[in-house]
Subunit: 118 residues, 2 copies
């Protein structure tokens, strides 16, 4: 189920956490490593807002559907991958993490997550 | 000036276009290759909205400042790099383009763009 898939992504990427969530900002499932002081509900809502803007932007630009977004902040790498019109997965890494591997792992688990969501 | 820098980024990355713009959605300068049917003003406004949401998200998540965002759509790769609290640069590539090289080129020109903006 979702928890095992997210756990696998987080472990193999040395990630901080992974969340499967809807565009309504409600997390379906999440895995967070220890020592996380972040408010995951707030994060969910914020990610969802960012992706809603992105989907709107891509549609206006006639750019095809948004498939993946990587965000590089002062502290984290975040990989967002869109799974269905309602759900997406977000993986957060510490700045020293391997972004390429993280993107690969998320992509590899995408069909499994999509099958579970279907 | 800005035009030469953007031109260099677009040429060396084989990009579709590059824009230097403010968060108010107004483009300071832009370079578009031929055959572009996109409405660059609409794009500017949409990019700016996405980045505003991202900055808010990063602040709420206590994730440090947003530095760079890559977006992968059905047709394009887009690299957004934040230059100052008011301005950012956006480079768009066709899907077959080299995203790694594009990110490198944008990063390489960042100090030059920042110096021009100061």
């Amino acid at each position: 189920m979702f928890k095992e898939i997210l756990q696998r992504i987080v472990e193999q990427s040395n990630g901080v956490g992974a969340v499967l969530m809807g565009y309504d900002g409600i997390a379906v499932e999440q895995v967070l490593t220890d020592n996380q002081t972040v408010d995951s509900h707030l994060i969910a809502v914020e990610y969802a807002n960012v992706l809603k803007e992105l989907k709107k932007a891509a549609s206006i630009m006639n750019a095809g559907d948004v498939e993946e977004v990587s965000i590089n902040t002062g502290k984290f790498f975040v990989v967002l991958r869109l799974l269905t019109p309602e759900y997406f997965v977000a993986l957060t890494l510490n700045k020293g993490g391997n972004l390429g591997k993280a993107k690969y792992l998320v992509l590899r688990e995408t069909p499994t997550l999509q099958a579970e969501l279907a």
